[in-house]
């Protein structure tokens, strides 16, 4: 019940905290994940390349 009252008194805060902040948080997490994945993949590819090079030597 208290949530209902609070919600009606502060609609904009409700919208922002509940919807927009969550949505943008999800975007942020997704961006972080994608960037992290790129970092990890690049690292792996570099490692593989170094391993190959040391094998050739």
């Amino acid at each position: 019940m208290s949530l209902d009252i609070w919600m009606r008194e502060n609609p904009l805060t409700y919208i922002w905290v509940g919807s927009y902040a969550v949505a943008f948080l999800i975007f942020a997490v997704e961006i972080a994940m994608v960037v992290h994945k790129r970092k990890i993949t690049l690292q792996q590819v570099r490692l593989m390349r170094e391993a190959d090079q040391s094998e050739e030597d």
Partner: protein, 245 residues
């Protein structure tokens, strides 16, 4: 003027191209988000019936629409990959899936938050809502199947078959739940004559465009990682500047 489309469907050329495009998509998405939010929250007036709560629409509708379209795009890419055996299309499909699932999730989440003040319940089992939930399950099924198969080629092909069968199911789900008592409102955007305030409309379209650009930028970034991962043994990868450094 013959453009060689196949040239761009090869990972070799697509990888640098995507790298060049991503910043543009990202920056314009950011700008449009700012503009859209400004119009939506400052310019547009409060709604007569719903008061301030209607402002959820500016994130809810774009994410709903995008989640549905992304599924079709994903299925189309997957089908291309399955039929013509083009590696890039399959990679695109698996790059799109997580974004689509997240948009479906955002749509559900924002819808639920909108439902509480409007309908007095976080969730009702009506047609729209249910089909959006099932869409989320279809995305998750695609992702789960892809993740449980280790051999990437088999994973691509199996997931593609699932995506195609799933896309046949999307309209069926949509219509089969149609006659349920529906709380969710129908289309507000019509091609001719609209009931919406002009600023509301502007805000919504701006946010829609911003979300699209965001989705594209994210999918392209993800597909670049996938290309790197899958093609790590080919020569052109080891000669990339970012790998050499």
């Amino acid at each position: 003027m013959a453009i060689n489309w196949f040239k761009y469907s090869a990972p070799t050329t697509f990888y640098p191209l995507a790298g060049k495009l991503i910043p543009w998509f990202a920056i314009s998405s950011l700008i449009l988000f700012a503009v859209g939010l400004y119009i939506g929250f400052v310019v547009a007036p409060a709604d007569a019936q719903q008061g301030e709560f209607y402002r959820i629409i500016f994130i809810h509708v774009p994410s709903s629409i995008i989640s549905m379209f992304l599924y079709l795009i994903m299925a189309a890419y997957a089908a291309l990959g399955l039929i013509f055996n083009t590696r890039l299309s399959s990679m695109m499909a698996s790059a799109i899936a997580p974004t689509g699932a997240l948009f479906a999730f955002i749509s559900l989440w924002t819808g639920a938050l909108w439902g509480k003040p409007m309908w007095g319940a976080w969730w009702v089992w009506d047609a729209r809502l249910t089909s959006e939930l099932i869409l989320l399950f279809l995305y998750l099924g695609f992702i789960a199947l892809h993740a449980s198969i280790d051999d990437p080629r088999r994973a691509d092909r199996a997931a593609a078959l699932l995506a195609i069968v799933g896309s046949v199911n999307v309209p069926i789900i949509y219509f089969s739940v149609k006659w349920w008592n529906t709380l969710h409102q129908g289309s507000t955007i019509k091609y001719s004559g609209t009931s919406m305030h002009i600023a509301m409309q502007q805000a919504m379209f701006t946010m829609l465009a911003a979300c699209w650009l965001y989705a594209i930028a994210i999918a392209l970034t993800r597909v670049r990682s996938i290309i790197l991962e899958r093609e790590r043994n080919s020569k052109w990868i080891t000669e990339l500047a970012e790998v050499k450094s």
